[in-house]
Symmetry: C2
Subunit: 415 residues, 2 copies
C-alpha cells in the first residue's frame, strides 16, 4: 500500500502522460472553460473562503495576511482573467530549438517538452491555486499543489471548480491535485518524492524556501527572496537616482524586487542624500545608515551589521557609504540574495563593470529594480522569480515549466 | 573558525570571482599551459599513481577498477590532448542569447555567465580530475573536486601539476581545489554547502548518485544511469535491427548508453529473433527473455521481473515481447532511467509516436543508443550525461556549466 503522497504522485504522473499529448487548442479550451467555471462558481468559492477568513480572524492572524487570504468577486474575476491571458500566450511545448545533421547523417534536434509533474508549495494566497494550475496545464504538466492550511477551504473550492471544468471538457481531473492533508509530515513526504515529482517550486517567505531546500530530494527552484540594492555612483544623475530609489522602495513594500538597501559613493553623498532622504521621508520610510550617512542627516538612524543582510519587506531602507565602485560591488555581492541590483551612473565603464561583476539574476543600469517580473519582462506570465542559477534564473515564464529532449533521426547508424 | 569544506568553498568562491572576469584568450592560455605541465610532470604523476595502483592491488580491488585507476604515458598524453581540445572550443560565456526593447524603452537582454563554484564527486578515474578542471575553467568556474580515496595520490599529483601551471600563468591556484580528506563525513559536508557550491555533479555508479541526490542541499545534476531499450517494431528492417542491437549491446559493455533491454513486437519476433540472437551469441551475450522469447530460442534463459529494471553494464540483455507499440512505450516508460531509447521501424506514425511519448533524454529512430555522448552530438566536450529534467538533459557540454543573468539598460525607468 502506498502512502497518500504516493497515491497523489501516481495519479499526477498518469495525468501528465495524457497532458503531454494534448495539443495547444485543447489546452486553451480547457483554460477558458476553467476561467468560466471559476466565475460561475464564485458564490461557492466565496462561501468557502469566508470560512478560512473567519478562522484566521479567530486565530488573530495579522491583517496583511488576512488581506492576502480574502477573495472577492473582483479577485475571482482576476483569477479567471489570468487564465484567459495564459490561454492567449504561445505554447512553448513542441518547439524544436535546433536541428543539425551530423557527419554520419544522424539528424539531432532538441525539442521542448513538459517537465511532467510540478509540485508547488505555497502559503495562504488562494489565487496562486488557479494561477499555478493554469501555467502548469498550459505547458502540459500535472500540478500537485500544497497551499497553506489557513486557505484550505478556499483552495478546495477553487480546485473543485477547476476539476468541474476539466470534467466537462473531458480532460483528466488529476491535472490538478490538491494536497488536502496540510500537515508538516505530508509536506515533508512531498519533498522526498524524487522520481514522482519532477520539480518543486516553493512560493512564499524565506523560511518556507529554506525548509524546502534543506529537506527536498526533488529538484527545487528557489524563488523570491530579494535583498535588492541600488548603487548611486559618483557620476549619477541625482534627480534620476532619487526618483528610482523612491520608486524601488515605496511603490510596493512587501515585494521581493523592492529596494532594501542603498549604496552611495562618498563623492556624491553630501549632494545626493538630502534629495533621497526627502523623497523617502515623504513616504515615512525609516532610514538606517552607516556613520557617514548618519552624519549627513538627522533623519537617518544608525544601522547595525544585521541591516546589510536584511530583506525588510517594509518601509525601511539601509544606507551604506563606499569610496569606490569596487567597494560597492564587493558589498553587494556579499549581502545580496541574487535577485535584482541596480547602478545609477553616467559612466560607461562603471555601467559595464557593474553589470559584469554583480552576481544576481537581474542587473540594471539606471532603472528601478521593480521591473524584475515576468509581465514587465514581456513573458506574459510568471510562475515565480528564481534566485538560483540552475534551470531558470530571474522571472520564470512558461518556458521554465518545460524541459527538452533530444530527438534523433537515423537510417541505421551504428558506432 | 570555519570547517575544512567552508575554507575550501570560500577559496573557490574568491577564485570564481576572478575566473568570471577572465577573457577567453586568458583561459585558453591557461588550458594549454596545464596541458604542457601535465606532460612535463608525467614522471611524478606516474610515480604517485603507482602508489594508488599498488594499494588497490593489495586491497584486492577487481581488475576492471584497477584498469580505470591506472595511468600511463599514453593516458597522460590523452588528458593533455583533452585540455587542448577544450581550449579550441568556443567559449559560451558572454553570449547574449537575446536582447529586446520593451515598450517603456528598457533594453532587456539575457547573457550567459559562469555558474561560479562547481563541485564534482567522482570515483577512481584520475583522468576526470584534469578533464573536469578543464571544462569548469573554460567556462569561468572554480572547481572543487572530490575523487575516490583509492585515487588520492594520483589526484594530488595531477592537481599539483595543474596548480603549477596556473601559478606560472599568474592565475589563481584556487581554481582547482581537491578535497584531500576523502572521508564520508567531508563528502557529506560538501553536499550541504548550499550557497557555497552552486552545483554538484556526481559522476559514477548508481549508488554514488543516489547518495548525492538523497543528501545534498546543493542543486544536483544527476548523471549517467542508463537502462536503455531498443524496440523492434512490427515493420522494422530486421537486418538493421540486428546490426543496431549488436552495436548498442556489444560495442562497449560498461557504458551508460549501452542497450540493456530489447522490446520486440510479437508480429516480427519469430523472424527477427534468430538473427538478433545469432549476433549477440557471437559476442557471448547472455540473453534473458520472457516466455514468448524463450519459446523461440534455446539460447534464451527466463527473465525475472527484476531484469526489466536492471542496468547490467555487462554482457547480458533482456528481451520483452509486446503486442503493440503502446505496450512497448508503456513498458519502456515504466522501466527506463530517462537516458536513451530507440525504435527500429519503417512506419512513419510509429516513429513519431515513439519520439513523442517516450520520456527520456534522447529518443532515437533507427539508430544505436550508443550515440548519446557529447562528442557524438557535436558538443566537442562532455561533463556527463544528465538523466534529470532540470537545467540540462542529455549530454552536457560547456553550456551546461553556465547560467544566465538578465542585463537591463535603462535611462531612468520607474514603475
Amino acid at each position: 500500500m502506498g502512502s497518500y503522497m504516493q497515491m497523489l504522485t501516481d495519479r499526477a504522473k498518469a495525468a501528465a502522460v495524457e497532458a503531454a499529448k494534448l495539443g495547444t487548442a485543447d489546452k486553451n479550451r480547457g483554460l477558458l472553460a476553467v476561467a468560466e467555471e471559476l466565475v460561475s462558481q464564485q458564490e461557492m468559492i466565496l462561501e468557502e473562503n469566508a470560512k478560512d477568513v473567519e478562522a484566521a480572524k479567530t486565530k488573530g492572524i495579522k491583517q496583511s495576511l488576512i488581506d492576502r487570504l480574502s477573495l472577492s468577486e473582483k479577485r475571482i474575476a482576476d483569477m479567471a482573467e489570468g487564465l484567459r491571458q495564459i490561454a492567449a500566450l504561445d505554447d512553448p511545448v513542441g518547439e524544436v530549438l535546433y536541428m543539425k545533421t551530423r557527419p554520419n547523417g544522424l539528424r539531432i534536434g532538441q525539442k521542448r517538452v513538459p517537465l511532467g509533474v510540478v509540485g508547488i508549495i505555497y502559503e495562504s494566497r488562494p489565487n496562486v491555486t488557479a494561477d499555478a494550475f493554469g501555467l502548469c496545464f498550459k505547458t502540459g504538466n500535472a500540478a500537485i499543489l500544497r497551499g497553506g492550511s489557513d486557505a484550505i477551504h478556499s483552495n478546495q473550492a477553487i480546485v473543485r471548480a477547476v476539476k468541474g471544468a476539466l470534467r466537462k471538457e473531458k480532460l483528466s481531473q488529476d491535472l490538478i491535485l490538491l494536497v488536502e492533508d496540510t500537515s508538516r509530515e505530508v509536506a515533508g513526504e512531498m519533498m522526498k518524492m524524487h522520481g514522482g515529482i519532477d520539480v518543486l517550486i516553493p512560493r512564499g517567505g524565506a523560511g518556507l524556501i529554506a525548509n524546502v531546500v534543506e529537506n527536498s530530494t526533488v529538484p527545487v527552484i528557489e524563488t523570491g527572496t530579494g535583498n535588492c540594492h541600488i548603487y548611486v555612483d559618483a557620476s549619477a544623475d541625482i534627480r534620476m537616482a532619487a526618483e528610482i530609489i523612491e520608486n524601488a522602495k515605496t511603490q510596493r513594500l512587501g515585494v521581493c524586487n523592492a529596494c532594501e538597501s542603498l549604496v552611495i559613493h562618498s563623492g556624491i553623498i553630501a549632494e545626493a542624500l538630502p534629495q533621497i532622504v526627502g523623497r523617502l521621508k515623504a513616504h515615512n520610510v525609516e532610514i538606517r545608515g552607516d556613520e557617514r550617512a548618519c552624519a549627513l542627516s538627522a533623519d537617518i538612524i544608525p544601522a547595525t551589521e544585521e541591516d546589510w543582510g536584511t530583506e525588510y519587506l517594509d518601509a525601511i531602507i539601509s544606507v551604506k557609504t563606499v569610496d569606490s565602485i569596487d567597494e560597492a560591488i564587493a558589498h553587494i555581492n556579499r549581502y545580496n540574495t541574487g535577485h535584482s541590483e541596480s547602478i545609477i551612473t553616467k559612466d560607461y565603464y562603471n555601467a559595464l563593470k557593474f553589470q559584469d561583476e554583480i552576481d544576481a539574476a537581474a542587473v540594471y543600469v539606471n532603472a528601478s529594480t521593480r521591473f524584475t517580473d515576468g509581465f514587465e519582462f514581456g513573458f506574459g506570465a510568471e510562475i515565480g522569480i528564481s534566485t538560483q542559477k540552475l534551470h531558470a534564473r530571474g522571472p520564470m515564464g512558461l518556458e521554465a515549466l518545460t524541459t527538452t529532449k533530444y530527438i534523433v533521426f537515423g537510417n541505421g547508424q551504428i558506432r
